[in-house]
């Protein structure tokens, strides 16, 4: 069974069609990359998949782990194992990282009919995940993303992903905001989390991230749909040719 099947997805925002027949299948164990010019709908795809309100699906279907994803509430999708590392993670003043993560972990455990996590197990999980991603202890003591630098926000997304171990993680422009060393470190963390049961959908503009996290497939998106797919070499071609040439080449 495919992990996710996206078929002919059409999405409107404010009556304007942004996704215009998007198709993509992802199997467990695969890493897919989506590249494409600004404003072609990459983030819209991510938002529509997690269920952002006001994103109106006008046609198409999405099957996630055999279930109709579009019928699920936002939180159900997450509890089923879908995760989005946001392009622009929001700051949430007053909600502490620790309180937030505890709530999140327990929500998942409740979903799986498990008791709330013990304080010791929780602290160990936090320790392990923060070490893996390389976030410093001060960040954990603060409110969610509040006053975090651009790079810290991105690391925090991956920290949460490491805590939650989703089946499918969508990483929206993870590389923007991360310095070279951090990018390497975070990519290594993701590689360690990669296994044959999970999958990643990586949205990026740059080849560099894909040097570290090597994708199985690369898709080029334009005007609301995938216009070209290939292996990892497609990203390299794109880097040298640019979008116009690669899209006109057959």
């Amino acid at each position: 069974m495919k992990l996710i099947e996206i078929k002919n997805l059409h999405v409107n925002i404010d009556d304007k069609e942004i996704l215009k027949g998007f198709d993509l299948d992802i199997n467990r164990g695969e890493v897919h990359a989506i590249m494409g010019p600004n404003g072609t709908g990459k983030s819209t795809l991510a938002s529509a998949l997690v269920g952002k309100p006001d994103y109106e699906v006008t046609a198409g279907k999405v099957i996630f782990k055999g279930k109709d994803l579009l019928e699920m509430e936002i939180e159900e999708r997450a509890l089923e194992g879908l995760f989005l590392a946001f392009q622009y993670p929001v700051e949430i003043p007053g909600v502490s990282m620790i309180n937030f993560m505890k709530t999140v972990v327990d929500a998942r455990r409740k979903h799986n009919n498990e008791d709330p996590i013990s304080p010791v197990d929780f602290l160990n999980l936090v320790k392990k995940s923060s070490k893996l991603v390389g976030i410093n202890d001060k960040m954990k003591g603060r409110a969610v993303n509040e006053g975090f630098s651009g790079g810290e926000k991105k690391k925090n997304e991956i920290f949460q992903m490491a805590m939650l171990q989703p089946d499918l993680a969508i990483l929206d422009e993870l590389d923007s905001g991360l310095d070279i060393d951090s990018l390497k470190h975070v990519a290594e963390a993701i590689n360690k989390l990669r296994n044959k049961n999970n999958a990643f959908l990586i949205i990026t503009h740059y080849q560099r991230l894909l040097d570290y996290i090597v994708p199985d497939y690369v898709h080029i998106m334009n005007d609301g749909k995938i216009v070209k797919s290939g292996g990892k070499e497609l990203a390299m071609e794109l880097e040298s040719m640019g979008y116009d040439d690669i899209m006109s080449k057959n």
Binding site: I74, E75, L79, F83, F86, I92, P93, V95, F100, A107
Partner: protein, 428 residues
């Protein structure tokens, strides 16, 4: 109405005059009330607070506690303090309680304090509340029955928070006029935790005045929880006078109330003072709350801060007015003010009004106000992590409101008010 209260005064003259010492204060109060009457919504300062409906009731007064019982609220919350003064329907529960410490601290019922230390009480009575600013203040002067009194002599720290609880559960239309007076001489420190609550069937109209005298280089924290039922009427004025280098922290949490009004007047009467007034409120149903803060920068080099946060649902109505007056010679003043609100329903409303009156030129003032909705992006973020919608809403609203109380150092008090806020938010 003026006639009614005149008659009430005459009919209760005997009881009222048992406290000979207050005779002139009472007379003046009644006279001022006769002159100004109750405020109404045509008055600028009362335009957000309609008193007409409840003032139709003829509130009687009552001089003793009929069933002198222990406060239920302090028990519920497991609140404890080495020294607690308990009021029930405005009366000190252990009749005439007055605790006197070796270091000179006096804490207890003002009635008891006035009987034992008449000069001390009279020296401060109505000295911060100078002119019975409005009809409610005047009535309080005329009919005051009891309240708490705290005297802290110079160079004294009370190293635990003293606790005052007021609970109301009287189904009769009674007016409870409490007068609280706190005096900190120089170089002293203390914290007061004040918990007010009422039952759902309570018809008391509480009309309180608190006078605070904060001496040179002293620090007073007044942490208050006003947990009133949807039926309660509560009108409170706080008058603080700060001498040089003094600090005043006033943290107010409001949960409900049919009509609740706070007026906090602070006069920064010496250089290098700091006044810090914060409020958090959660209102639903038909709750109406009007908070007013007046800070008079009467001297140079003082800082003041006002931070109020509210959540309103159903048909709740809220108002915040923050006045800052910087007098001509009050150079190097810093005055900050912020009032942010989340309004969850179309029928709820919030009015926020900053008033800055600045006559000095070397002044840093800032004010920010907003009335908005839950942050949709924050909701999405929490939900995409698997947090249920209701839980996400609760987390965000609690965090939003509690931001106003981030400076509260008493962790026990903070825990209690956080819990109260969360419980109330679960209902909205």
């Amino acid at each position: 109405m003026i006639d009614f209260y005149n008659r009430l005064f005459n009919s209760k003259k005997e009881e009222l005059e048992t406290q000979i010492l207050l005779k002139n204060i009472r007379k003046q109060g009644l006279k001022d009330f006769g002159r100004i009457g109750f405020p109404n919504i045509k008055m600028e300062k009362w335009k957000n607070f309609n008193t007409k409906a409840f003032l139709k009731n003829q509130y009687e007064i009552c001089f003793e506690d009929k069933d002198n019982k222990l406060d239920f609220f302090s028990k519920i919350n497991g609140l404890e303090s080495p020294d607690t003064i308990v009021f029930h329907n405005g009366h000190c529960s252990y009749n005439m309680q007055l605790d006197e410490y070796k270091n000179g601290v006096i804490f207890g019922s003002i009635k008891a304090a006035a009987a034992k230390y008449p000069e001390l009480v009279l020296r401060y009575f109505n000295k911060a509340n100078k002119q019975n600013l409005n009809g409610f203040n005047a009535l309080n002067s005329a009919f005051v029955q009891d309240g708490f009194f705290l005297f802290v002599p110079k160079n004294t720290n009370i190293d635990f928070p003293v606790l005052v609880t007021n609970s109301y559960d009287d189904d009769q239309y009674h007016m409870a006029n409490s007068r609280n007076i706190v005096i900190l001489e120089q170089n002293s420190n203390c914290e007061i935790v004040q918990i007010e609550s009422s039952t759902s069937y309570c018809n008391t109209f509480s009309n309180n005045i608190t006078e605070l005298f904060i001496g040179e280089n002293s620090t007073l924290s007044l942490n208050k929880l006003q947990k009133y039922s949807g039926k309660s009427i509560d009108i409170e004025s706080t008058f603080a006078i700060q001498e040089k280098k003094s600090t005043f922290h006033n943290n107010i949490t409001i949960i409900g109330g049919n009509k609740l009004r706070n007026d906090v007047h602070i006069k920064l009467n010496g250089k290098n003072c700091f006044a810090d007034v914060n409020g958090a409120f959660v209102l639903d149903d038909m709750n109406e709350v009007d908070n007013n803060v007046y800070i008079d920068h009467a001297k140079a080099d003082c800082d003041s801060n006002q931070n109020f946060r509210g959540v309103l649902d159903d048909k709740a109505k809220g108002a915040f007015t923050g006045y800052v007056l910087v007098r001509q010679d009050s150079q190097r003043t810093n005055a900050y003010q912020s009032n942010k609100n989340i309004v969850l329903s179309d029928d709820a409303s919030m009015s926020t009004n900053p008033f800055l009156e600045i006559y000095a030129d070397d002044v840093k003032c800032s004010h920010g106000a907003s009335v908005g909705n839950l942050d949709a992006n924050a909701m999405l973020y929490l939900q995409t992590r698997g947090i249920q919608k209701d839980k996400a809403k609760e987390l965000l609203l609690s965090a939003f409101v509690l931001e106003a109380l981030k400076g509260v150092k008493n962790t026990k008090f903070k825990e209690i008010v956080s819990k109260e806020i969360e419980n109330k938010i679960l209902k909205v």
